[in-house]
C-alpha cells in the first residue's frame, strides 16, 4: 500500500503526466460533446424529412379518395424517407457512416438507381477524416501509454535512483511491473471516467453493450501496456525505446491497415458494379419500345398474386405496366446487386480477418460493429430498404391492380421504414485477439528477462 501511495505521489508531482492526462480527458470530452451534437443533428434532419413527408401526404389526402390513375401519379412523385437510424454509440464511434448516405428517400421506381445516391458533405474533409472518441481511444491512447510508461526505467536510471532501488529489492523486474500496473490502473480509471461521462452526456446506457465496449477498451489498453513492457524489458536507451514504439505504432495503425485496404482493392475490378444502374436503365427504357402487353403478361405470370387483375393494359398508358417494368428493372440486375453485396461483405470479412495482425484494426472493426456503424450495418440498411420497397409495392399495387380507390384511411396504412440494427457479436473474438497479442508480448518479455539475467 505504501508503495502505491509513494508511486502515486511521484506521478502527481510529474508535470508531464498531469498535462498528458488532462489533455487526454479534454480531448475525450470534446469528442463526446461533438459526437453527441452530430447525432442530434441527424435526428433533426430526420425530423425535417418526416415533417415534409407528412405534409406531402396530407396534401394528397385532401383530394382523397384518389382514383387509381391519380394514386399512380402519387407514387411517381411521392418519396418515402428511409433512415439508417444511428445507435447511441455512433456518436462516439462514427465508423463508416460518413461513407454512404444514411438518410435518403425512395419511391416506387427502380430501386438501384435511387440507392446509389452518395452522401452530401464536404468532399475536401473526406481524406482527412474526423476526430471521434474511437480515434482518440484506438490511435492516440497507445501514444499516451508510451508517454506515461515507456521511459519509466530509463528515467529512473538517468536520475540515478534505479541502482538504489534495484539494490534494495530482490526482483527489480517485479518492481517495474508494479510501477507499470499503477500507471495502467490510473489510465483505466480515466477511461472508465470517460465511459461514464458518455453515459451522462449522451444517450448511451449502462447496459451490456457498455460493459462489452469497456472490456474491449481496457483489454486494448492492457495490450499496449504489455507491448510497452516488452520494449522496456529490452533494456535499451530511452531513445531506442521511443523509436521502436513509434515504429510499432505506425506498423499497426498505418502500414497494416493500408496494406489490408490495398489487398482488398486488388481483389476487385474497378467500377464493376456500374451495371446495377447501367443495365437497369437500359431495360427500363427499352420497355417503352417493346410490346407492352407481352411484357405485362410475363409479369403477371411471374407474380401470380396480381393475376386476377384486368389483364388488358389501358391505352395509351397504364400505371400497372409502368410500375411492373420499374420492378422488373430491379429484378434483372439482381445478380449484379448480389455481386455488389458479396464484394462488400467479402472485403469487410477480409479486413476483419487481417485484423488478427493488428490490435488497432481489430478494435476498430470491433467497435464499429458494436456501434452498428460498419459496412455490415450499411449493407443491412440497403437490404432493409429493398424489403421496404417490396412492402410499398405490395401495398400500393393492391390499389392499381385491383382498381381500388385510395381513401383517406389508406394513407395511415402506408408502410413505414424502421431500421433494425443487426445484432453485434464480435466482442469475444476481439478479446481473444487482444489476449493473444498480449500473451505473445508477455512471452517475449519472459524470454527477454531470462536473457537479461543470463
Amino acid at each position: 500500500m505504501r508503495f502505491i501511495q509513494f508511486e502515486l505521489r511521484l506521478l502527481w508531482q510529474n508535470k508531464l503526466f498531469k498535462w498528458l492526462i488532462a489533455a487526454y480527458l479534454l480531448a475525450a470530452f470534446l469528442a463526446i460533446i461533438w459526437g453527441q451534437m452530430g447525432l442530434q443533428r441527424e435526428y433533426q434532419q430526420r425530423a425535417i424529412s418526416e415533417a415534409n413527408y407528412q405534409a406531402e401526404l396530407a396534401d394528397y389526402k385532401k383530394d382523397a379518395p384518389l382514383a387509381p390513375y391519380d394514386s399512380g401519379y402519387m407514387s411517381y412523385y411521392q418519396f418515402h424517407p428511409v433512415w439508417q437510424k444511428p445507435s447511441a454509440w455512433s456518436a462516439l464511434i462514427n465508423g463508416e457512416r460518413s461513407e454512404a448516405a444514411t438518410h435518403t428517400r425512395v419511391r416506387l421506381l427502380g430501386l438501384q438507381s435511387q440507392l446509389s445516391n452518395t452522401a452530401t458533405g464536404n468532399i475536401a474533409a473526406m481524406p482527412i477524416g474526423k476526430l471521434d472518441l474511437s480515434f482518440i481511444w484506438i490511435y492516440l491512447m497507445p501514444l499516451l501509454i508510451a508517454a506515461l510508461s515507456l521511459n519509466l526505467l530509463a528515467e529512473e536510471k538517468a536520475s540515478g535512483r534505479w541502482s538504489l532501488l534495484a539494490s534494495q529489492v530482490a526482483n527489480s523486474g517485479l518492481l517495474l511491473t508494479k510501477k507499470m500496473l499503477i500507471a495502467a490502473g490510473l489510465l483505466a480509471m480515466v477511461n472508465v471516467l470517460i465511459l461514464l461521462a458518455a453515459v451522462v452526456l449522451t444517450d448511451i446506457r449502462l447496459d451490456g453493450l457498455w460493459w462489452q465496449i469497456a472490456a474491449i477498451l481496457l483489454a486494448y489498453q492492457l495490450c499496449w501496456f504489455v507491448i510497452t513492457g516488452w520494449i522496456i524489458s529490452l533494456q535499451r536507451s530511452a531513445i531506442f525505446n521511443s523509436l521502436l514504439f513509434i515504429s510499432l505504432w505506425i506498423v499497426f495503425a498505418f502500414v497494416l491497415p493500408g496494406l489490408a485496404y490495398l489487398y482488398q482493392t486488388q481483389q476487385q475490378q474497378p467500377a464493376e458494379h456500374v451495371s446495377m444502374v447501367f443495365d437497369q436503365r437500359e431495360y427500363m427504357h427499352d420497355s417503352w419500345d417493346r410490346d407492352k402487353q407481352a411484357d405485362f403478361d410475363v409479369y403477371l405470370q411471374d407474380y401470380p398474386q396480381w393475376q386476377t387483375t384486368e389483364s388488358i393494359l389501358q391505352k395509351p398508358f397504364d400505371w400497372r405496366w409502368y410500375y411492373a417494368m420499374q420492378h422488373m428493372s430491379d429484378v434483372i440486375v439482381a445478380d449484379a446487386v448480389n455481386q455488389f453485396r458479396d464484394s462488400r461483405i467479402h472485403s469487410h470479412r477480409f479486413g476483419e480477418n487481417f485484423a488478427w495482425l493488428s490490435p488497432v484494426m481489430r478494435v476498430q472493426y470491433s467497435m464499429n460493429r458494436l456501434a452498428d456503424t460498419d459496412m455490415l450495418a450499411s449493407q443491412s440498411f440497403l437490404d432493409q430498404v429493398a424489403d421496404y420497397q417490396q412492402q410499398l409495392r405490395d401495398y400500393f399495387f393492391q390499389f392499381y391492380f385491383f382498381d381500388k380507390p385510395f381513401t383517406a384511411a389508406d394513407f395511415t396504412k402506408i408502410p413505414v421504414f424502421d431500421y433494425r440494427p443487426i445484432v453485434p457479436n464480435n466482442a469475444l473474438i476481439t478479446l481473444i485477439n487482444l489476449v493473444i497479442v498480449g500473451l505473445f508480448f508477455i512471452g517475449l518479455i519472459l524470454l527477454q528477462t531470462r536473457r537479461n539475467r543470463g
Partner: protein
C-alpha cells in the same frame, strides 16, 4: 562559411551512412513507397480503362437507340464516367471517396455514384495509404528519427563545445546539418520520382501532367526542407536528446494528425450541411415555390403560357407553330436547373466556409498546406472533382435543352405521345467532352497555401541564422 557548412554536412552524411537507422529506414520506405505507387498506378490504369469502356458502351447505346420521342430520350438520358487524373497514383486526393459515374437525365440532378472500390477507407485512420501520404506523413517521422539528436547529441556528448572552440558557429552547424538531411530527403524523393516517371512513361504523357508532376516534386522537397528546419531547430533548443525526440513527436502528432482532424470536425460543427434527404427536400420545395407545370391553374405557368402565346401572336397553344409541351418542358427544366444550381451553390458555400475555417488552422499545420497543394497539383483535389460535376450539370442542361427543342419543333402537339424522332437526330447530339482546368487556371487556389508555406520556410531560415552559440 560555405565551405564549413558543406564540411559539416559531409561529416553528418558519413555519420548517417554508418548508422543503423538510415540503413533500415530508407530502403524500407523506398520499397514501401514504390510498392504502393506501383499498385496504385496499376489500379489507376485499370480504372481509366474500365471507365473508358463504360463510356464507349454508353455512347454506343445512345447512338443505337431506336427512334424515340425526344422526351423519352431525355428520360433515358446518358451517363458520364469520370476519368481520374493520371497523377492519382502519387496522390489519390479525394478519388477513393467520391463516386465516378453520373447519370444525366431530364428533371433531375443525380449525384455521382459508384466509388472506384467498395472497400471501406475508415480503417486507415492515420491517412489513406498512398505515395503522398508516405511522403507527407511518414517521411517527417523518419527525419525526426534521423535528426532529433543532430545538435542536442553534440551538446550532450560535449562535441559541440569542441566544434565551437574550433571556430565553427552554431549557425554554420545548423545549416550544415540541415543541408545533410535535405540531401537525404532529396535522394528519397528522387528515387520515388524516377520510379513514378517510369510508370508515367508507359502511357502517352501530356505536357500539363509533366508540369504538375514537377510542381509536386518541388512541393515535397520544400516540405521536407521545412521539416528538416523544424527538427534541427528543436534539436538545438532542447537540452537532452530525449526532450528533443519527445517534443518533435508531439509536434508531429499535433500538426499532422490531430490538428487537421480537429479542424474538419470543428468546421463541420460550425457549418453543418444538410444530409442527402434534407437537401433533396429543400431543393424540391424551392422548385415547388416557383410553380407546378402539371397544374393547369398554376399562376407562374399560366403567365408563361400567355407570354409565349403573345410572342407568336396566337390565342391557343394548339395554334402555336411549336409544340407547347416541348416549350413547357424546357421552361420546367430551366427552373429546376436554376433552382438546383442555387441550392447546390448554398451547399457548396457551406463546404467552402468549412474549408475556410480549416485554412485558418492550416496556417499552423504545414501538413495541411502541403496536403492541399499536393492534391491540387495532382488534380485530385475536391475542387477538381466539383469542377467536373459542374461541367457535367452544364452538359446535362444543354443536352436536355436540345431534346426539348426537338420536342417543340419536330413533334406535333396533337397526338404528342405517339410520335417519335428519328434515331439519326438523337445520335447527332454531342457527347460530353470534359476539359479539366489547367494549373494556370488554379493559381488562385495555389497562391494562399503556397505563400504561407514559403513564409514558414523563411521563418525557418531566419531562426537558423539567428541561432546563437549556446553550449
Amino acid at each position: 562559411m560555405m565551405q564549413t557548412i558543406i564540411e559539416i554536412a559531409r561529416h553528418e552524411l558519413i555519420t548517417q551512412w554508418r548508422s543503423q537507422t538510415l540503413k533500415i529506414l530508407l530502403p524500407l520506405l523506398l520499397v514501401l513507397t514504390s510498392l504502393i505507387a506501383f499498385s496504385h498506378w496499376q489500379q489507376q490504369q485499370d480504372f481509366i480503362e474500365a471507365q473508358t469502356l463504360w463510356q464507349q458502351q454508353n455512347d454506343a447505346n445512345w447512338d443505337a437507340q431506336p427512334d424515340r420521342h425526344p422526351h423519352r430520350a431525355a428520360h433515358y438520358g446518358t451517363m458520364v464516367f469520370r476519368i481520374i487524373s493520371p497523377l492519382s497514383f502519387i496522390d489519390s486526393g479525394v478519388n477513393p471517396f467520391v463516386g465516378n459515374a453520373l447519370f444525366l437525365e431530364a428533371h433531375r440532378q443525380n449525384s455521382s455514384s459508384f466509388k472506384q472500390y467498395v472497400s471501406s477507407t475508415a480503417y486507415m485512420g492515420l491517412g489513406y495509404l498512398s505515395g503522398a501520404t508516405v511522403i507527407l506523413v511518414i517521411w517527417p517521422l523518419v527525419l525526426i528519427a534521423l535528426a532529433f539528436n543532430s545538435v542536442s547529441g553534440e551538446r550532450v556528448q560535449g562535441t559541440l563545445r569542441q566544434l565551437v572552440s574550433q571556430g565553427i558557429s552554431v549557425k554554420q552547424l545548423l545549416f550544415g546539418k540541415t543541408l545533410a538531411f535535405s540531401l537525404i530527403s532529396l535522394v528519397f524523393l528522387l528515387v520515388i520520382f524516377v520510379i513514378a516517371t517510369g510508370f508515367m512513361l508507359q502511357t502517352p504523357v501530356h505536357g500539363g501532367d509533366v508540369l504538375r508532376m514537377g510542381a509536386m516534386f518541388v512541393l515535397y522537397l520544400f516540405y521536407c526542407l521545412l521539416w528538416t528546419f523544424t527538427v534541427v531547430l528543436f534539436s538545438n533548443w532542447c537540452r537532452t536528446n530525449q526532450q528533443s525526440l519527445s517534443a518533435l513527436l508531439l509536434f508531429w502528432l499535433l500538426t499532422v494528425i490531430v490538428m487537421p482532424k480537429m479542424a474538419y470536425s470543428l468546421a463541420d460543427m460550425q457549418y453543418p450541411m444538410p444530409d442527402r434527404a434534407v437537401f433533396d427536400i429543400q431543393t424540391a420545395q424551392e422548385i415547388a415555390k416557383v410553380g407546378n407545370s402539371h397544374d393547369p391553374d398554376d399562376p407562374y405557368y399560366n403567365e408563361f403560357r400567355e407570354q409565349v402565346l403573345a410572342e407568336y401572336g396566337v390565342s391557343r397553344v394548339e395554334d402555336l407553330p411549336v409544340n407547347w409541351r416541348g416549350v413547357l418542358m424546357q421552361e420546367g427544366e430551366r427552373i429546376t436547373s436554376e433552382v438546383f444550381g442555387k441550392q447546390y451553390e448554398k451547399l457548396m458555400q457551406l463546404a467552402e466556409q468549412q474549408n475556410q475555417l480549416v485554412s485558418q488552422v492550416a496556417w499552423f499545420s504545414p501538413y495541411l498546406l502541403a496536403n492541399k497543394l499536393s492534391s491540387i497539383f495532382a488534380a485530385t483535389n475536391a475542387d477538381s472533382f466539383l469542377h467536373y460535376e459542374n461541367a457535367a450539370e452544364q452538359f446535362r442542361f444543354n443536352f436536355i435543352k436540345q431534346l426539348n427543342q426537338m420536342h417543340a419543333e419536330q413533334i406535333d402537339h396533337a397526338h404528342d405521345r405517339e410520335q417519335k424522332v428519328s434515331n439519326e437526330h438523337l445520335a447527332n447530339l454531342q457527347q460530353f467532352d470534359y476539359q479539366s482546368p489547367t494549373l494556370q487556371a488554379e493559381l488562385n487556389l495555389i497562391y494562399p497555401p503556397l505563400l504561407i508555406l514559403l513564409g514558414w520556410l523563411i521563418i525557418g531560415v531566419l531562426l537558423l541564422s539567428r541561432s546563437r552559440n549556446e553550449v
